[in-house]
């Protein structure tokens, strides 16, 4: 089987460590081909990459706490003091 041979080319334990380099576009063309061939043959690693992508998207939804009006006011006071000096 051609697919299983490709899957063996990189093992899953190696593939999961390539995910970030892949997403960052830091794999060589050859490495990218091997990595993508592994994904096509391996549901576990394909799912793993999907989950890392989902994780990144979820992290992007985290908002900082709202700026409290008194904090904002305090910083503007700080600014005025600075300008006066």
């Amino acid at each position: 089987m051609k697919l299983s041979a490709l899957r063996r080319d990189i093992v899953c334990q190696q593939a999961v460590e390539l995910v970030t380099d892949y997403l960052e576009g830091r794999l060589s063309r050859h490495e990218t081909r091997r990595f993508e061939a592994h994904l096509r043959a391996c549901d576990g690693c394909d799912e793993y990459l999907r989950q890392i992508r989902a994780t990144i998207a979820i992290l992007g939804h985290v908002q900082p706490e709202d700026l409290a009006p008194e904090t904002r006011q305090g910083l503007l006071e700080l600014y005025r003091q600075f300008r006066e000096e």
Partner: protein, 216 residues
Amino acid sequence: MHSVGPGASTREVRATYASDVSDDDLVRRLRSGDESAFAELVDAYHPSMVRFAQTFVPSRAVAEEVAQDTWLAVLKGIQDFQGRSSLKTWIFRILANRARSTGAREQRTTPVDVEDAATVDARRFDAGGMWSDPPAHWSDEVVERLSAGYFLEKVQAAISRLPEGQRAVVTLRDVDGLSSKEVCEVLGISEANQRVLLHRGRGRVRAIFEDELARP
């Protein structure tokens, strides 16, 4: 369905306010003493700055002080701002340096990220390195659950459990949407180091999500 193709769902650029377009204008207004320019910057960055500073200092209150000191440094330094990096990157670099030295003064131990380099527990692979316990499928419904408001509080908690370096990089890259180049500038680290920290941090957050989903 195969998610082949790098970067398909990573946000290259998040449309945060005060990008390059308005940098020049803001800097000019700040230099001329326009208070509204300062207020715009505070509104845009202060909450993120306090969150990021907490990576290095032991409490929210100290992070708030560090952010405040940073604003003073920004006001004092704006005349010398060269525009070699974006205003945001410049401000966050000042913040990172201050937060780090304050963190060191507060005697907070700075853990070096030396522990386990693997991002997936080795026990989940067989002797040949193939999955023996592959990740369970996350349906769209599951991802929606993970993106819900109540869960996002847990996400923030998950981030705060990361070792310092990973937390800093994940916060800047994935939460605040900085580019890898900007993250390197803010933290003064190499691109390769940045990638390692990002890799471990994301992997660890994914594992925390997986554990959360496995709870009854």
